[in-house]
């Protein structure tokens, strides 16, 4: 079964494109070319990350090793900024709230559109993918008046979740649409309905469990997106993890704690996204 990329959903005719019948000489040259390419790109992708991790272990003197910057993550308090730990907490809470709201908003609506309001399907797809084409920096300009109103009720940075749901919408939508497309929603729901299930039961206990993998993908993508968000929080003057890192690095250039926290956040996001891409492939491999 051919491996399929996460973007192009076309089943690749890879078996045919496999250069089996090549001349041995060209095959060798091609292999040499491939490994040179893999090595060069591998280094380009790897070196900045390694440099950051190495720098986070830098001791007081250049070239020495020390874990001090990593211990500081829990206690760091920069000048004129909230404690680092509090911004980590806020960001994680935001990620959880955003993921939950996104699921509650998107999953029932998508199932409902698929079952009962087919004529809205195109509109929904268009609206869900629209945030991809409206840059966050544009959105934030128009959000000013809206967030002014929200701030009458709450000043908490957690209020960022309202807009983060919109940012995550395209990614979550594509993940969920792939999952929904793989199951026969109509038959499942007709079977459940004819056995007397309510619409709530159909969605929560029949269809949702069948698209568990897609829901997990949507959750992971949303989580990773919130962890890395900077633009909107920065311009609406909220403090999340990325904004905090930025402020610390401006006040104290080359502060070790910036690099240790960045490395930790990055490692966390990488693990989430790698789980996603490997889990997704296993599912496709079986099908």
């Amino acid at each position: 079964m051919a491996a399929v990329t996460s973007v192009g959903e076309t089943p690749a005719p890879a078996a045919a494109s496999r250069p089996r019948g090549m001349h041995a000489g060209r095959r060798r040259r091609l292999n040499a070319f491939r490994y040179v390419v893999f090595t060069v790109f591998g280094l380009f992708f790897l070196l900045p990350l390694l440099a950051m991790v190495r720098f986070s272990f830098e001791g007081a003197k250049l070239g020495t090793w020390s874990g001090a910057a990593w211990k500081q993550i829990a206690s760091y308090q920069g000048e004129g900024v909230p404690p680092l730990l509090s911004s980590i907490e806020i960001t994680l809470e935001l990620a959880v709230i955003t993921s939950v709201v996104m699921l509650v908003l998107l999953v029932p609506t998508m199932i409902w559109v698929r079952l009962r309001v087919q004529w809205l399907a195109r509109t929904m797809e268009f609206l869900s993918l629209l945030p991809l084409t409206i840059p966050a920096i544009v959105l934030v300009v128009g959000l000013g008046p809206i967030y002014n109103r929200i701030q009458h009720y709450s000043l908490s940075a957690l209020m960022l979740f309202w807009i983060y749901v919109v940012l995550a919408l395209p990614y979550a939508y594509r993940a969920l649409a792939a999952g929904l497309g793989a199951i026969d929603v109509t038959t499942l729901s007709e079977a459940a309905r004819s056995l007397g299930a309510s619409w709530f039961t159909v969605m929560v206990r029949v269809i949702a469990p069948n698209m568990r993998q897609a829901i997990l993908n949507a959750l992971l993508l949303t989580f990773a997106l919130v962890l890395g968000e900077f633009t909107i929080a920065f311009l609406l003057l909220y403090n999340n993890l990325q904004v905090e890192l930025y402020s610390i690095s401006r006040n104290t250039p080359n502060a070790g704690v910036v690099f240790s926290t960045s490395s930790a956040a990055l490692a966390f996001a990488f693990i989430l996204l790698l789980i996603l891409s490997y889990a997704g492939r296993r599912r496709r491999g079986r099908g």
Binding site: T10, A12, M52, L105, I137, V138, R193, V258, S277
Partner: protein
């Protein structure tokens, strides 16, 4: 269709009888309302406000300020950065995609690079600028590049880091769609490798390549966090200037400047994405 089916089963005649009073599209109202408030409304505000003066009156002459030399400078800066980073990203990404596609479709290299590309295409922002800072910046562990803080070259290298993986993701399906039979056919007819790429492979892949290029362009256009973390004193590109206009305390007059710049970006993205959609449709012809 499913409505008819459920009514026929007669499981709940009472509810079935009541249903017509509430049309089924009502179920989508929460979603539509949410999107209207947090996506369509802000975009509308940007468009409307860019034609208003700070006092609230209409000022359609605002649009001429997009031609103002200072404003034009930021758009030229954005354009330079986007063209350079998307060109490098597209060419290098296409090479990497070719190397991936020419191997075993279930091989470890392909799985690894696809997984990594999926991750790195999302990776940008403040952290990426930090990573390059410690690699080749003033405290560089690898070396200290004198051009690190020069625009557009220093920042182009950083942008290329997330552009290449994105190109791999969008271009790989196109390369996978090229059939080995086409190569064999052209070889049987006596074509050299150069002729194959010039007359067969190249033209086949060109729409997909150009489409990828445009997607990368839009991607670079909207990036903001990376360049702010790289250089926060001087504004080179439109997003930086929007940020300055929004946060500076000079007064209300600047708010409409931010709106106007944002409108300019929306127009640019709309043009680019339309081109992308057209090219994708053209490219899809060969991918069946």
């Amino acid at each position: 269709m499913s409505a008819a089916a459920t009514t026929q089963t007669g499981a709940r005649p009472a509810r079935a009888g009541r249903r017509p009073s509430v049309p089924s599209w009502v179920g989508t109202v929460p979603f539509l309302a949410y999107v209207a408030v947090f996506l369509l409304w802000p975009t509308g505000i940007v468009v409307v406000d860019s034609f208003k003066n700070p006092a609230g009156g209409w000022a359609f002459a605002n649009i001429t300020r997009l031609g103002d030399p200072l404003v034009r400078g930021y758009f030229i800066g954005s354009f330079k950065l986007c063209v350079l980073s998307s060109l490098f990203g597209a060419v290098l990404g296409a090479i990497l995609a070719y190397a991936i596609a020419s191997g075993d479709p279930d091989g470890p290299m392909r799985r690894l690079y696809l997984a990594v590309s999926g991750v790195l295409a999302q990776f940008g922002g403040v952290t990426l600028a930090f990573a390059f800072l410690v690699l080749i910046g003033p405290v560089g562990l690898l070396f200290h590049a004198g051009w690190f803080y020069s625009f557009p070259w220093g920042i182009t290298v950083i942008y290329t880091y997330f552009q290449i993986p994105l190109m791999v993701l969008v271009f790989l399906p196109a390369i996978d769609g090229v059939k080995i039979q086409w190569r064999e056919a052209s070889e049987n007819l006596g074509a050299s490798a150069w002729q194959y790429w010039r007359y067969v492979g190249g033209p086949l892949l060109m729409p997909a390549f150009l489409g990828g290029l445009l997607l990368l362009f839009a991607n670079a256009l909207s990036a903001f966090a990376t360049i702010v973390a790289w250089e926060n004193q001087i504004a080179y590109i439109v997003p930086q200037q929007i940020s300055t206009a929004m946060t500076s305390e000079v007064g209300l007059s600047n708010v409409n400047v931010a709106d106007l710049l944002a409108l300019g970006m929306v127009i640019m993205v709309a043009i680019v994405m339309t081109g992308y959609a057209l090219l994708q449709r053209r490219a899809a012809r060969w991918l069946r």
